[in-house]
C-alpha cells in the first residue's frame, strides 16, 4: 500500500503539486490523466523519490520513504519505473540489460538472472532479440525490453511514466498489449497516459489531475462516463471553453465579439458555426439585458471538437427569467434558427440561479 499525506512539490517558479493526500491499495491499477503541467509525472517521480517532495509524507507499506533515515535503494527495489524514453544501456545487449539489476542489487546468480530474463523476453515477445543491442531495435521493441527489465526485479509496484508517448503511432499497440497483460497480474500499477481509451480499458481506478492535485479520483466508469466535477468533464469531452463576464448594460460588446471570434479561429470552428455562436450570444444578451434588474451575466461557450458541437450557458441573477418568453419575436426567431435546443433551468440556491443552455445547431 502507498499512503501519501499532504504532498507538495515546489519548483522555483511553479508548484505542480500543492497538497496531495491519497491511499493506493495493493493491486490498484491506476491511470493518471489530466492536462499538461498538472503534476502527473511529478506525482509518480515523488513516489519513488526521483523528485524530493518539498513537503509531506509518503509511506510504502509501513515504511515512511520521506523519512531521512529511510534506505531508499531498498524501497526502490520494490518499485519499477518505466520511462517515456526507455533508458536502456546502449553498451549492453538486451539480455544483459535485463540481467544487470537482479545480479547487482539482489545477488541473483548469472544463470538464474538469464533464465528469468529469457522468460520475460518471451513474455514481451522478444526472445529472439536477446543478443541484440538496443540501437538495433525499434522504439516499440525498446519499450517492451524496458518493461521486461523492470519486471526482472519482481517489483510490487510498477510506475509507468507516459510509456507510449515517445513512440511512433504504429508501435503504440504492441507496447499497450504488454502493459495490458501486466495489468492482469495483480501488481499495483500507476500509469501516466494521454491515451484515454487505453486508460479506461486497463485501470481499476483513475486519477484526474488538475489545480495542483488529484482533482477527481474514481472508477473508470465514473471519470469517463459520469465525471462529477467541471474540469474533469471538460477534459474528458475535450471541451474548448471561453468564459465571458458581463457586468454592465454598457458592456464591451465589440471586445467580446472579438474574443469569441478569436476563440472560434483558434479552435478551427467552421465559419458557419462561428457565426451561429456569435449570433446566439448577441441575441440572447439583447433579450436578457433590458429585462435584468442587475445586469450581471456569466456566459460560457463550450465546443466539443470530436462531435463539433457547441453550447452556450448563460447564468444570471434576479427573478426567474426565461428568454424564450421574450416579446422580441424577430430576435427570438434568429435565436431559434441558430440553435437546436434551448433549455432554461432555475438552480435553487446558486449565486446566479437562472441558467440558460443554448445548444448551437450544427447541421
Amino acid at each position: 500500500m502507498i499512503k501519501i499525506e499532504h504532498l507538495k512539490k515546489e519548483y522555483p517558479n511553479v508548484t505542480p503539486l500543492k497538497d496531495v493526500s491519497v491511499e493506493i491499495r495493493d493491486g490498484d491499477v491506476i491511470s493518471v490523466i489530466g492536462p499538461s503541467g498538472t503534476g502527473k509525472s511529478t506525482l509518480l517521480r515523488c513516489i519513488n523519490l526521483l523528485e524530493k517532495p518539498t513537503e509531506g509524507h509518503i509511506w510504502i507499506d509501513d515504511v515512511e520513504i520521506t523519512d531521512r533515515k529511510c534506505n531508499i535503494n531498498k524501497i526502490r527495489q520494490k518499485m519499477g519505473m518505466v520511462f517515456q524514453s526507455f533508458n536502456l544501456f546502449g553498451h549492453l545487449t538486451v539480455i544483459e540489460n535485463i540481467m544487470l539489476s537482479p545480479m547487482d542489487l539482489k545477488g541473483v546468480s548469472r544463470q538464474e538472472a538469464y533464465d528469468r530474463g529469457m522468460e520475460l523476453l518471451r513474455m514481451v515477445g522478444l526472445a529472439e532479440k536477446a543478443l541484440n543491442y538496443p540501437d538495433e531495435l525499434s522504439g516499440g521493441q525498446k519499450q517492451r525490453i524496458a518493461i521486461a527489465r523492470t519486471l526482472a526485479m519482481d517489483p510490487d509496484i510498477i510506475l509507468l511514466d507516459e510509456p507510449t508517448s515517445a513512440l511512433d503511432p504504429t508501435m503504440v499497440g504492441e507496447v499497450q498489449a504488454v502493459i495490458r497483460e501486466l495489468a492482469k497480474t495483480g501488481k499495483t500499477m500507476m500509469i501516466v497516459t494521454h491515451e484515454m481509451n487505453f486508460a479506461r480499458a486497463i485501470s481499476t481506478r483513475v486519477f484526474f489531475m488538475d489545480e495542483g492535485g488529484i482533482y477527481e479520483d474514481g472508477t473508470p466508469e465514473q471519470i469517463f462516463e459520469h465525471p462529477q466535477r467541471e474540469n474533469t468533464r471538460r477534459f474528458i469531452r475535450r471541451l474548448k471553453v471561453l468564459e465571458l463576464s458581463i457586468e454592465s448594460r454598457d458592456y464591451d460588446f465589440l471586445g467580446m465579439a472579438g474574443q469569441i471570434s478569436a476563440y472560434c479561429n483558434k479552435n478551427q470552428i467552421t465559419p458557419r458555426m462561428a457565426n451561429r455562436i456569435q449570433l446566439v450570444f448577441e441575441e440572447a444578451m439583447q433579450n436578457l439585458l433590458p429585462a435584468l434588474k442587475e445586469p450581471r451575466v456569466q456566459a460560457v461557450i463550450e465546443y466539443a471538437e470530436q462531435s463539433e458541437s457547441a453550447e452556450w450557458t448563460l447564468r444570471y441573477g434576479g427573478e426567474r427569467l426565461d428568454v424564450t418568453a421574450s416579446s422580441d419575436e424577430l430576435s427570438l426567431s434568429v435565436l431559434r434558427g441558430m440553435t437546436q435546443e434551448i433549455a432554461y433551468a432555475w438552480e435553487d440556491g446558486a449565486e446566479l440561479p437562472n441558467a440558460l443552455h443554448l445548444k448551437i445547431r450544427n447541421a
Binding site: 465559419p271 458557419r272 441575441e283 422580441d328 426567431s333 434568429v334 434558427g337
Partner: protein
C-alpha cells in the same frame, strides 16, 4: 462597419462592409433616414458584409417598408452566412435578394 454610398439620380446604392449588429445598426438607420426621402430605389450591396443580427434585420425591415411604396429595396451579393439568417427568419421571402 463602413458604408460606401453611390448615388445615380434617384437610385442609391449603399455598400456595407463588416458587421451589422447591435452596435452598428444605428449607423445604417441614420444613413437611411437621411437619404431615403430623396430616392426611388435603394440597393444594399452585402458583398463585404460578414454578419447580421436581428438589430440589422430590423433596420432592413423598416427600409423595406418605406421603399415598397416607391421603387423598392434590393439586396445584392448576400453571402451564405448572412443568407442563413435571412432564411431562418423568413426575411428571404420578404426581401428582394439578388
Amino acid at each position: 462597419m463602413t458604408i460606401s454610398k453611390q448615388q445615380n439620380g434617384k437610385a442609391l446604392t449603399l455598400a456595407l462592409e463588416g458587421r451589422l449588429d447591435t452596435v452598428t445598426a444605428p449607423e445604417l438607420e441614420k444613413e437611411l433616414r437621411a437619404s431615403t426621402a430623396a430616392i426611388d430605389t435603394l440597393t444594399l450591396d452585402f458583398a463585404k458584409l460578414d454578419y447580421i443580427s436581428s438589430a440589422g434585420l430590423r433596420v432592413l425591415l423598416s427600409a423595406h417598408k418605406e421603399m415598397s411604396a416607391k421603387g423598392g429595396l434590393k439586396i445584392q451579393h448576400v453571402n451564405e452566412i448572412v443568407q442563413e439568417v435571412f432564411e431562418v427568419t423568413g426575411f428571404g421571402d420578404i426581401l428582394t435578394i439578388e
